[in-house]
């Protein structure tokens, strides 16, 4: 039994060595409004960040305000943020009100029984995956510590530079101040 299992693992590892490309699977996603979309639908215009979060996850919430800033700042380049919520259907209605109240403008999908999370190999919450237009994963980050947003921003710059996409640099501190004036976020 154990020998057979080890054989299977070796086999799969061999296959993974032979064919491995860090590409995001073109999974079907259920969006917050109940309709369906595929991952590649979001890659038509440019690169994207896929972020896994939940309403009970405090670090996720801390990070989400920066993802919203990234989404809004780089949207002219075709860049998008897709936040995949992993709350169970037991708390689905709170997800909608949370997203609306915070005025997040990025797309939100739901993964209530963690099947998308498993297929995207997500182990920690939050997990942030930066994907280029071809679907290749160029950056993956697990968890969130204050300051991680700068690393994510650098990864976005790196991807934009590599793909010759012109963009305007983002000053996170300045952006925060701008948000106070608009009243959308409280950070002064």
């Amino acid at each position: 039994m154990i020998k057979n299992t080890i054989r299977i693992i070796y086999l799969l590892m061999f296959l993974s060595l032979g064919y491995s490309q860090e590409k995001i699977p073109n999974l079907r996603l259920k969006m917050l409004n109940g309709k369906y979309a595929k991952v590649n639908d979001f890659l038509k215009d440019g690169p994207m960040i896929i972020d896994f979060w939940a309403t009970w996850c405090e670090p996720c919430k801390k990070q989400m305000k920066y993802l919203n800033i990234f989404n809004n700042h780089f949207k002219e380049t075709g860049f998008k943020v897709l936040a995949v919520n992993t709350d169970t259907p037991k708390s689905m209605s709170k997800v909608k009100s949370y997203v609306r109240t915070k005025k997040f403008e990025f797309d939100v999908a739901v993964d209530p029984n963690s099947q998308v999370k498993k297929k995207m190999k997500v182990l920690q919450m939050p997990t942030t995956i930066l994907v280029d237009k071809t679907g290749e994963i160029v950056f993956r980050h697990q968890g969130y510590l204050p300051g991680d947003e700068h690393d994510i921003l650098q990864a976005i710059y790196g991807l934009m530079d590599k793909n010759n996409i012109s963009y305007e640099k983002l000053d996170l501190n300045k952006n925060n101040k701008k948000q106070i004036k608009s009243g959308a976020e409280v950070d002064f």
Binding site: Y19, S97, N113, K121, L123, Q142, P146, G147, V186, F188
Partner: protein, 760 residues
């Protein structure tokens, strides 16, 4: 057939064939692994490795999960392939084979997941076929779901640590789900049938047995997604049948109930200038698929009609990130619960976001015990409830009410993120009732008699039928009331450095209320005719105090039996001669101020207690004759403190809990946190006292360690794909809940935990 399909060699061959086919020309492969290890001085050990492997291309996705554990943190030990699935998709068509997890609507009919925190895996192994188009979806499923659970109500293979499941129900299920979309509207229809083989205790032989049950559920749901308003409503009807071939005893023992479940929610987003950004969410649940009295409320073994574990509807409860508030969330009964929740959230004058959340729930019926008059109550009482459907939760105790009000403010001030909460919780988690009755020994009006002299009047000496007329009523209920204040401060120092301070306070009152009454005086046989109940057992009154004295114990006796520790001896042995001397401490059982040796007792009933002797029908079982009336209406707290001098437990009404967590982190590399939890009292129940570890010994130089749990946690991101978590110290045990399902977790004493997660 299924066994053939799921044979591992065939799976391997399948992968090999496909890997050489055109389908796999653009294959993506990867996976992740989690290694978990824990060891503690209270024998809470675990070691497990979970390995997930994924292979995919544009059409096919495969997932294999291997587990190697001995033992796992919770659940059955597995060494080998645990789960697998192959998904094929082409355009709107999807076909899956293997271990499948599905959700229809909000889970009133089907909601499957693998939640390792509470050890619940309710997925199925089988087939699934779906068509997903823009304006409709069709989903067909068929397979077998083997669900392992832990239950003390199933008397076989009970695990004392509550880590290993002992109840396995097997569901052979099939079903279909249709969903239509039109503009902002959606409509869904579902049907599911499960043929269950259900392990049960045979009520006659008390041995393990099993029965075959059929569950059928039909459901309807509708949703609306508008700009200002979103709403959702789902209704399902359940029918449970016991197979005709099953023994009559099971049909008599429990009659399955056929009922309904209802869930609805409304989200309203304010758009006026004054309330811009505010939202109101209201949720309602009425889960009415079985009727369970308060003693049987969680007994899914006997009440087989509630064992639809693949239906996991919304909890209609807030999931708290606060440690103390999360401990107060009740276990949701998805078969028998009514409740609502409303939540108002919005920004306040540029200083942050405010949340007001109120939630209430109870059972769907009020229960009471009834019995026919004039018969023996102890043999004939039974639970009865009002069968009417209630709309709002009850506040009466037999409805097991629960409510929580929670207020929160969170936001940023410069580089500081703050979060302050305030919660008030009330709940009645348990309610018990019992009756006992007796005869009064005299003829009462209405009692039949042998009218020997034919005068139609009862005369002394005539035989009569003495009916049961004295009633003893006992009711007790647990009650919990708490105020909780969680807070969190996070300061961003810049250059990736940050510090976290988390503080939680909770004042909690928890105990049991007892009510005990007797309708008439207890009856006794007045052997000496003096009109009072006399003591009977003979004793040799050696000290002449007229009372039988048990042997009183000196401090020397207590020290010998380990009740007085060595380090406290100086306090008791005041002259230091190592022996009990006059004036030194003893247990003055009779309060006469003198140390009495044990007096000889002729213990007639062998209970080692000196008893009154005249025959007594002791209805309330307190060992003495009792007059009628309410003689016990008291409250017993669940908390106590230890008196350091006497070693005796002193009841305490309230418990104050504190949790402080101080952390520092350097993005994106590492973080370190020290968590100290303390409690002002001990608690009756399965919680064990903590073992002092070296970390606590060190900190003991700074703080008092009495009743504290201290742990140090370190996280390091080895690289962007690998993370290591280490914990050293002590963690308090207790109830943990995840999505309405709760389990008891053993305390983790003086040990370390390691978790290594890798994505490849």
């Amino acid at each position: 057939m299924l066994k053939l399909i799921f044979n591992k060699q065939i799976i391997v061959s399948f992968i090999l064939i496909l890997s050489n086919s055109d389908l796999f020309s653009q294959i993506t492969a990867g996976g992740n692994s989690i290694l978990k290890f824990g060891e503690s001085k209270n024998e809470f050990h675990y070691s497990e490795v979970l390995l997930n492997m994924n292979l995919s291309n544009d059409y096919l996705e495969t997932w294999f999960q291997f587990e190697y554990s001995k033992p796992p943190e919770i659940g059955m030990s597995i060494n080998g392939l645990r789960k697998f699935r192959i998904d094929y998709s082409d355009g709107p068509f999807e076909l899956s084979v293997g271990d499948i997890y599905k959700i229809w609507g909000r889970g009133l009919i089907l909601n499957q997941f693998d939640d390792q925190d509470v050890n619940l895996d309710n997925g199925y192994r089988g087939l699934s076929f779906s068509i997903i188009k823009d304006n409709y979806t069709i989903d067909l499923i068929s397979g077998i779901s083997n669900i392992h659970r832990i239950s003390q109500d199933y008397w076989q293979n009970i695990d004392q640590e509550s880590r290993k499941p002992n109840h396995l129900s097997k569901h052979s299920m099939f079903g279909s789900d249709l969903e239509f979309f039109q503009g902002p509207f959606s409509l869904g229809l579902s049907f599911l049938q499960s043929r269950e083989n259900h392990p049960i205790n045979n009520p006659i032989t008390m041995m393990a047995d099993s029965i075959n049950v059929i569950h059928r559920i039909n459901g309807l749901r509708a949703g609306y997604e508008g700009g200002r308003l979103a709403s959702y409503l789902e209704l399902s009807g359940k029918n449970t049948l016991l197979s005709q071939s099953e023994s009559q005893i099971y049909k008599e023992n429990f009659n399955p109930y056929n009922g309904f479940s209802l869930f609805g929610n409304i989200n309203y987003y304010f758009q006026s200038q004054l309330l811009d950004g505010w939202s109101l969410t209201m949720e309602y649940k009425n889960y009415n698929t079985t009727k369970l009295n308060t003693s049987d409320k969680d007994n899914f073994v006997k009440n087989y009609d509630m064992n639809l574990i693949f239906t996991q509807p919304p909890t209609v409860l807030r999931e708290h990130s606060s440690v103390f508030l999360a401990r107060l969330i009740p276990q949701v009964n998805f078969s028998d619960e009514v409740g609502y929740q409303f939540s108002l959230v919005g920004p306040i004058m540029g200083i942050g976001y405010f949340t007001l959340n109120y939630q209430a729930a109870s059972r769907t019926n009020l229960w009471g015990k009834t019995y026919p008059d004039t018969v023996n109550a102890i043999l004939s009482t039974k639970w009865e409830s009002d069968s009417a459907v209630t709309v709002l939760p009850f506040s009466e105790k037999s409805g097991l009410p629960y409510n929580e009000l929670y207020l929160e403010m969170e936001g940023y001030i410069k580089n500081i993120r703050y979060q302050f909460g305030f919660g008030i919780t009330n709940k009645i988690p348990e309610y018990h009732s019992s009756y006992n009755s007796g005869k009064n020994g005299v003829w009462d009006n209405g009692e039949a008699f042998d009218d020997l002299n034919g005068n139609n009047i009862y005369d002394i000496g005539e035989n009569f039928t003495d009916l049961y007329s004295i009633v003893n009523e006992k009711i007790d209920n647990k009650t919990v009331t708490a105020i909780t204040i969680p807070s969190l401060l996070n300061y961003n120092l810049g250059n990736g450095w940050s510090i976290d301070l988390k503080y939680e306070f909770q004042k909690i009152k928890s105990g049991t209320k007892y009510y005990n009454s007797l309708s008439s005086d207890e009856v006794f046989y007045d052997s000496n005719g003096n009109g009072v109940w006399d003591i009977a057992e003979l004793f040799e009154d050696s000290n002449g105090d007229g009372i039988w004295n048990q042997a009183e114990e000196t401090w020397y006796d207590l020290w010998q039996s380990g009740l007085i520790p060595d380090e406290q001896l100086y306090y008791y042995d005041t002259d230091g001669d190592g022996l009990f001397s006059e004036g030194e401490y003893f247990t003055d059982a009779d309060g006469n101020g003198m140390w009495n040796p044990s007096e000889n007792l002729i213990d007639e009933d062998g209970d080692e207690i000196w008893d009154d002797s005249e025959y007594l029908e002791d209805l309330n079982n307190d060992g003495v004759w009792t007059k009628s009336g309410v003689y016990e209406d008291r409250y017993q707290s669940n908390f106590y403190s230890n008196d350091s001098k006497s070693g005796l437990s002193i009841p305490e009404d309230f418990q104050n809990n504190h949790l402080i967590s101080l952390g520092i982190g350097k993005s994106p590399y590492w973080s370190l946190s020290l968590t100290v939890e303390s409690s002002s009292t001990y608690e009756y129940g399965p919680l064990k006292n903590s073992v002092v570890n070296p970390l606590e010994s060190f900190l003991g130089n700074i703080i008092d360690l009495n009743n504290k749990w201290i742990a140090l946690e370190f996280m390091v991101n080895i690289n962007s794909n690998t993370r290591l978590d280490l914990m050293y110290g002590t963690q308090r045990g207790g109830i943990i809940c995840s999505n309405g399902i709760c389990r008891y977790v053993e305390p983790f004493d003086d040990g370390f935990k390691l978790a290594l997660s890798t994505v490849f």
